[in-house]
């Protein structure tokens, strides 16, 4: 099964990378209200049970993919 994990800077956490992107987009003439920069992790997993796969992904996020002090994560599984 394929899965995608989105890791984002938590709300309220200063994101200097996002601010730099925001400034650059404004300089290009785009009217934007804000930008935050995170990370995408595409994974190929064994197993077909979405609940089991999701539980495993949660453990991956807690142990490695995200740092809970500063990042939130979102798991995306293919819609059945």
């Amino acid at each position: 099964m394929r899965a995608t994990v989105l890791v984002r800077p938590k709300q309220g956490i200063l994101d200097p990378q996002g601010e730099a992107v925001e400034t650059s987009l404004r300089q290009l003439g785009f009217a934007i209200g804000g930008a935050r920069v995170g990370r995408v992790v595409d994974l190929e997993l064994e197993g077909d049970d979405p609940a089991a796969v999701r539980a495993e992904l949660e453990r991956m996020c807690e142990q490695l993919l995200a740092n809970p002090l500063i990042e939130s994560y979102e798991i995306e599984l293919p819609t059945p």
Binding site: L14, L64, N67, I70
Partner: protein, 233 residues
């Protein structure tokens, strides 16, 4: 006096680049530095461990996030749990935070620029194994060189750390956006410390400052005292 030189391990990860400087500085300050390879699952007999600066595992994912899973780090974790002295410098600090051995996390500098210059630091407490040769309130001049040294902890955690006096060093002027200008922290038990500045680059006046020697020599002193105490026991 080589006999009284405490054995201090210096761990080399793939991408470490200050391991040899740390080794040189520790030897100059009277220690017997012992190289430790990241893949070693066990530590030799050591009085202390230094995790040096660098870019372990290419800083992939987050600084220090991968290094903490190396076999040597499992051994360092066990060493620290038994009260062993561990000092993490720059990338070593990042690894200790990611490993949960120190509180907080190091993030990209607010400026997004790599900083590389001498900074002035204020010693918040001198009753640690890493700052015993300093005076409380003393100012040290030690260089920083990092792109991700912005230490962060949520407000409630920072309050707890402040109450428990775990903040050991602060930048005397803003450096990288760290909350509270924190430059170095110690764990609750006081045997694990991390700092972003590089004391190993400031151990001789020829290098512009010898203030880093106060930090490293404090570690060497404590390590030596512990060896002598256990030999006498």
């Amino acid at each position: 006096m080589r006999d009284s030189a405490p054995r201090i391990g210096v761990v080399t990860f793939p991408g470490s680049n200050d391991d040899r400087d740390a080794t040189w500085a520790l030897r100059a300050l009277g220690a017997d530095p012992v190289p430790v390879w990241h893949a070693d699952p066990a530590l030799p007999d050591l009085a202390a461990v230094v995790l040096p600066g660098g870019f372990s595992y290419g800083d992939y994912l987050r600084c220090g996030a991968i290094a903490r899973f190396s076999p040597a780090m499992e051994a360092v974790r066990a060493f620290a749990a038994e009260g062993g002295l561990v000092l993490g410098i720059c990338n070593g600090f990042q690894i200790l935070c990611e490993a949960g051995l120190l509180p907080g996390v190091l993030r990209p500098n607010v400026s997004l620029s790599f900083v590389c210059h001498d900074v002035r630091l204020t010693v918040e407490r001198s009753d640690t194994p890493f700052t015993a040769r300093c005076g409380t309130g003393q100012q040290l001049t030690i260089p920083v060189k990092h792109g991700e040294g912005c230490w962060f902890a949520p407000d409630e955690l920072l309050d707890e750390l402040t109450a428990r006096r775990q903040i050991v060093l602060r930048y005397a002027e803003p450096c990288n956006g760290s909350v509270g200008d924190v430059a170095g922290v110690v764990n609750e038990d006081g045997n694990v410390m991390g700092l972003m500045p590089h004391p190993e680059h400031a151990v001789d006046p020829l290098l512009g400052s010898a203030d880093g020697a106060l930090v490293l020599a404090s570690l060497v002193d404590t390590a030596r005292d512990r060896v002598l105490a256990s030999a006498a026991a």
